[in-house]
Chain length 207, copies 4
Amino acid sequence: MKNTTFGVNRIEAFSDGVLAIVITILILEIKSPELHVQTSSVAAWHALVALAPKFASFALSFLFVAVFWVNHHRFFLLVRRSDWGLLWSNNLLLFLLCTIPFPTAFMGDHPSNPVAVALFALVLLLAGLAFNSLWRQARRRRLIDESVREEIVNAAIRRGLVGPAAYLCASLLAPIVLPISWVIFLVVPVFYAWPTKAPDHNNIKGD
Amino acid sequence: MKNTTFGVNRIEAFSDGVLAIVITILILEIKSPELHVQTSSVAAWHALVALAPKFASFALSFLFVAVFWVNHHRFFLLVRRSDWGLLWSNNLLLFLLCTIPFPTAFMGDHPSNPVAVALFALVLLLAGLAFNSLWRQARRRRLIDESVREEIVNAAIRRGLVGPAAYLCASLLAPIVLPISWVIFLVVPVFYAWPTKAPDHNNIKGD
Amino acid sequence: MKNTTFGVNRIEAFSDGVLAIVITILILEIKSPELHVQTSSVAAWHALVALAPKFASFALSFLFVAVFWVNHHRFFLLVRRSDWGLLWSNNLLLFLLCTIPFPTAFMGDHPSNPVAVALFALVLLLAGLAFNSLWRQARRRRLIDESVREEIVNAAIRRGLVGPAAYLCASLLAPIVLPISWVIFLVVPVFYAWPTKAPDHNNIKGD
Amino acid sequence: MKNTTFGVNRIEAFSDGVLAIVITILILEIKSPELHVQTSSVAAWHALVALAPKFASFALSFLFVAVFWVNHHRFFLLVRRSDWGLLWSNNLLLFLLCTIPFPTAFMGDHPSNPVAVALFALVLLLAGLAFNSLWRQARRRRLIDESVREEIVNAAIRRGLVGPAAYLCASLLAPIVLPISWVIFLVVPVFYAWPTKAPDHNNIKGD
């Protein structure tokens, strides 16, 4: 063994922690609205309706991070060892995911502003590329469990480019036909929600 | 085995993380009040008394999330494997629980506003239904440990409908007799606090 | 075995999560001060000095929660199984610890206000009593590892009453000689920092 | 065995939790800017550009905490047992790391204020010393796995003094040539990013 490698338990634990926190603090950006007439149902409804873009932005980010977690989870079902390089690629991914509360809040505040929407798309694009790089490194440095067939890894890497391509479109289309960007934000996570139809290999960790 | 299944350790860890964060950041919605006379005990008392509805809303949400955690804990004592469908149902449940800081703050700010109280009830109702769906899926797709008798699962599923029914009442009663909704928010968690009187099976995980 | 009991791993994980979050979000109550002259060192120093009471309140709370974590850690080194009652006593303890950011911020904002200081003492007092109750239940319901000698448990329970007694004094003395309360807040955690001098038993978990 | 020692799993879990939270809540200090013209791309760009120092400060802190996590991770790959002293030294380190959101926000708000920059350097300096003290205690009290050669530990301890020395320079240079401090904040973490080139020992935990 040429490189220093080590188990992935603590990387998984740290990543789980970061993703769990990111996904949970997103809601903190939606502040409880003040009402002029405290007990008026009409005033409360109007206040909630005015928050709809912030809720939509929150829900999209939640979905995105949840899909990332699911695919990250599956990645580390296949990867059994890490080296420092993989660890730092994972940290880069976590960095990008940690910034998400900002573009989420910005797009929620300004849902029809092209720059806000493009920024949101850009962060998702970079996170997608960082995750793809994680897969490539694991393949190149042979960190994936040997019982996993190579075509499964190759398919995952190919599949992983769909998202960044779509987010690039969302970013470029934001100044032209902004609503399409919002549709892309919804469709891409759904595409990635089910990482695998068949079992990846026979002796999955955690059994 | 037809479906892709995998161990539940990381789902438990992620869920624990999310629930621990939700339950802990609830307090961030209660801001330290400013006092005009810095050292006046009377001013400080009045400021604290004015925060009483926010504390009550915080305490109810804490209780609700804690009860969810206890029942979620017990659920994964019985479920030994997950598939992607169960994982996403769990994510839906986490999504609903993650939104709780918002209705908590909204109801804390406007404790006698019917819409604020009905919104709180609605989120609890949806979370209860999502959890019930988790049980049903686990039963249907045979993800529950085989040593658990079927009537235990059926009883848990039946019991799981009491909460949503009560929260539906709380939601509908909010515009008519609002205090009853607050009583329901307190009583339902107490009903669910003790998931089981007898051991569910003999070889529980973690032994 | 009369009661339903189960392993404590997930209770430990959940408690660790909650305590880690509480201890980390305390800093969020200290806001970055605005400076009128952006680059003036003097203005920056004055702004920092004005935050000294908030830092002191933050540091005391951090110390308190850290000491709780250490003693909680040791408690679950000795307790190997839990029942629903112990789990709920632990949730009560977590509830009290989760509220700490509020009295911390309140006392940090109003360090010489007797009510703010008494409230801080009251929360610590209640948390100490809740932890003591955890020990008593574990002893009464025989959840402690059998290899632990009874006098170790009895000593821990007796020792656990020193804190609540001191915090009761701090609470009562706040309106009379307030600085003594601050001294108590510092001294009690130091008293509890070292849970044990000798090993509690021979086959500690985690070996 | 003279001292009380115990496994390090829960210390690792608690530290992971705290570091994951610190690294994730840093973004909460960057608030979504308000725009006077909601849909103006120009206004949005200007608002984002104005936030550049806050982003830079956020990114530096993220990098710093990530590097700490990596080195902390490696430390506990070598340390197999803890005593109360090591646990409290770890708590001191966590305390310093928990304060980071404050100097990060302060330096992000006032990037050219010498006091803000020196304060940031001071916190990193103290955290570096606290981590170095952790290594020294582990060596002195023989808590490091016996299969680890002594020169590896000694090299780690020597290497651990580079950071504090550099941060001392950054702190002292802040009032004179402030940009050098920012360069130091970037260079030091890069220096520590790769803890080891060769495996530390043969039977690393987690295998």
